[in-house]
């Protein structure tokens, strides 16, 4: 394992009582750094819940988060990625009032101690993703605010190993090329939707209305899905239509991929044909699986998929799960239901 762990600013490897092993860390797109876990000798190792965890490769950070769970009896340590602090922080402004602006809420949460280094997200001022009046019931969580903001822009948000929150579109350029005929992911229409029906509360008519977004290309069949925008408060029909088209663009007309693929230097290269070092594979990158037709009508013999989750461990093989993977096992179905 070439990665090294620093907890609360100390290198575990360089302290006599904190030799570690079996490190695994994962990243997800969207969200960024997701989980990390490793093992140490049983007993109190001076590592406690909430301490910042950074994983480095050379001098470059590759994962950031905080200790989420410590089990001194078995010596198992788990850390949650930096993005998951947003699950536990309320969307407040600097005065403590409920905020509808994701960037305002991030700055205020950092001031209250959230361990993010900052953000590069453009301000939502004038186009808040949530109607301020709907916050009279109480504040949303920061994650809900960021989700709403990202959905409104047809983008995703994530927090990288530098602890900076970013929002942007999912890449459309492949970073990696999977050798033809080697391992091909299966495809599924489970997650696909051609029509999205969005219910929202109209700010002009003060009634519940429906906004419809349609994928006119309809390459994979006519699946329909309902989406609720009611939690965001009153909005105009224009805004509802924009949000629906962004949701369709981001989530709807996408081929769901079944299963995960294990890749290594023998089957994955960069665009220039150099065999991959699997430690450079991160969530959010696009992989072009060559030699696979996505459906009977396409002439392009490849599938592009974005890496939705990647798990790194000590081996030279890494397992990647495509974004929008259909929930085909029990664990995934539970996670989806949650």
């Amino acid at each position: 394992m070439t990665e090294q762990i620093a907890v609360a600013g100390r290198w575990l490897a360089l302290q006599t009582d904190t030799a570690w092993g079996d490190l695994q860390y994962t990243g997800r797109h969207p969200r960024g750094c997701w989980t990390a876990e490793w093992r140490m000798a049983p007993g109190d190792r001076g590592i406690y819940r909430g301490q910042p965890v950074d994983i480095y490769d050379g001098a470059s950070p590759v994962w950031a988060g905080h200790i989420a769970s410590v089990d001194p009896l078995t010596g198992t340590y788990q850390a949650d990625g930096a993005a998951r602090e947003a699950e536990k922080r309320l969307g407040l402004d600097s005065g403590g009032a409920a905020s509808a602006g994701p960037t305002t809420a991030i700055a205020a949460a950092i001031a209250r101690g959230m361990n993010w280094a900052g953000h590069t997200i453009a301000s939502f001022s004038g186009d808040l993703p949530v109607d301020a009046a709907s916050l009279d019931d109480g504040p949303l969580y920061l994650q809900q605010l960021l989700d709403a903001g990202a959905e409104q822009r047809g983008e995703e948000w994530w927090v990288g190993p530098d602890r900076i929150a970013r929002m942007g579109p999912t890449t459309t350029t492949p970073t990696w090329f999977l050798a033809p005929g080697f391992i091909a992911p299966g495809v599924d229409d489970e997650e696909y939707a051609q029509y999205l029906f969005g219910r929202y509360y109209s700010s002009t008519t003060s009634t519940y209305q429906t906004a419809i977004a349609e994928d006119t290309l309809a390459p994979y069949g006519g699946a329909e899905k309902a989406v609720s925008l009611i939690g965001r408060g009153a909005m105009t029909s224009t805004k509802a239509a924009t949000i629906m088209s962004k949701i369709l663009q981001r989530d709807g007309s996408r081929l769901a991929v079944i299963g995960s693929v294990a890749v290594d230097a023998s089957n994955l290269t960069n665009a220039g044909g150099t065999p991959a070092d699997v430690r450079l594979i991160t969530e959010g990158q696009m992989v072009r699986a060559l030699g696979t037709f996505p459906d009977a009508r396409r002439l392009t013999p490849y599938i592009d998929f974005v890496i939705g989750e990647v798990r790194h461990d000590a081996t030279t093989v890494v397992t990647i799960q495509p974004l929008g993977r259909a929930a085909t096992d029990l664990r995934a179905l539970f996670e989806k239901g949650a």
């Binding site: 070439t2 290198w11 490769d57 070092d277």
Partner: protein
Amino acid sequence: MSDPITYVYNQTPAPKRLTIGGTYPLASPDTIAGRPYDLETLAADANFGNPQPITTEVQSLLLDGARVEHLRDGNRESYFQIRITADNPHDLARGEAELRAQLQRITTLEWTPPHALAPTSKFIVVTSSMRWLFDDHAELQLKRVFGVTFVCLPHVRSADTIVVDAITTPGSTSPPTITTVDNCNATTGWAAEWKLVGTSDPWATIPVTSYAGTAIKADSPTAGPPAPVAVAASSIRVSKTFAAFDASPYVRFTITSSRAFDYVALRVDDTWVEPILVDGDDYYFETADTSVTFLRLQVNWPRLISPAYPDLFVHDVAKYSRLPQFGTARELGRTIRVHGSERTPGSIAVEHESTALGGHVIVYTHDDASGYTPPLGPDNISGSSSVVSTNVSGKAYNLDTPAVFEKSLAGIPAGRYELGALLSIPSGSGSYDIAWSAQTYVGGVAVGEAQSGTTTITWTSDLKIYAPLARILLPPTRVAPGATATVRISISDPTPGSGPDITLDEAWIFNLSIGALTIAKTTKRRLWIDSADIPLGVPAIWTGDNADRSDAYALSLRSQVLAVGTHVWNPGTTSIFTVTEGVEDAAVSFDYTPCWSHHPMAITDELEPTA
């Protein structure tokens, strides 16, 4: 298996050369003075155990079987039956108690095979335990047999530690004085021989021709097995007899080939030496010979998929008064030989007698034979730079103009690289963007896709910092084996004119697929990097002023250590590259204990290249 105790009385004692910790013999009674009991190790079921390979299956399209990757070796378990005999029950129990006192702790199990010349194998015992093998008949004879299991590290160590001394060139100042020995413009006096490695065929004379008037070419036979059959490993050696000259301290050969070779050695009169530094196509050899009349360079190629055996080109032979440096003598490289058959822990020392090493101290090690070296400064082709003799590179690049570096692709082994740089701002603090790009060039023309990005670097208190700019896969586009190509790396301020002037001292590409990188900050004169070893099982970085480590303390904070490398010491040659920001000519030495699968070899200084 039947009960082991039924075998005990039929066996002769094992050789009298098995001890715990070198001091507690598990031997026959007559050798141990002062023991009121006899202790014997029985040959029955004696077993030193074997390293347990830890592997993982790699997904493949094989119908049957699987590709398997060997990750590491697990511990071995050694087992011996030890018989205690005494004159009375008290001494019998005392023998048991004294044996028990040696167990369940970290120690060594040392075994010297019976032959008089056999070196001692040291097994590193992690823990051990004993089991009583009860026998009513033996109890009547005041004998007891215990089965003792030693859990040991997988590999054995030599009995002695090897110290690789630092390179010192007293009284010499940088840059080195270079004296031409042979500019290779003519073939006069040169002879060449060729041979398949590992065969009993004799060396065959091959022609030496002039190449472009600037090099000599040793032409290997073209007739080989037809492609695509793998061509066997081959070897070429070129020799020349000279009028006696002083070759000390260093001789440099500049050599190239159409295919990557994996071994180079030089015979200076009667003594073979391996390179002490490899930088691109330049191979430096150390010699104390002041009256040299004969030089013979041998190069070995691995098995290749190629229609022809590779040729060797020698471009220049020169004598150096000291090893060259990269930029200034704050950046140094050297190659060392690691003995043994298994990778081993070791300790690197970076030292200076009078001046503090840091700011930053960078130690990077790798064991690739391509001539790859990390610094980009010596390969600068454009940019806006000024001379700053106290800088690591000897220059300061203003990044308002892109600083562009071009390295030969042959010297960039494919893998995962950290692009890092020493960057400065004139005052204050803040976050500023740095743009970078990497692209393959063939014949001076960009090919394939460029890799590029922008990284935000934050200065908090120090004005000059080591900043990791990117983790990238190099080369961005690969080229055919033997093709001439380069990789250009550009580093710049994407918004020149806004914010402070950002200056670059030196930039590096560290290959983390094949090497390990440690970066520490110290204001002391010495730094040691110890590999993880028993008993602590963790690596350590120490710093201090005294050579005996009497004032050394551990660096373990993220603010003191920017990167922790797992430096791996594989048998063969390993390159060590060091940067000491604060001082020129820091001495770099290394000590380690050779590690072997089961039995150590006696280490000698004599070298005979494989052919």
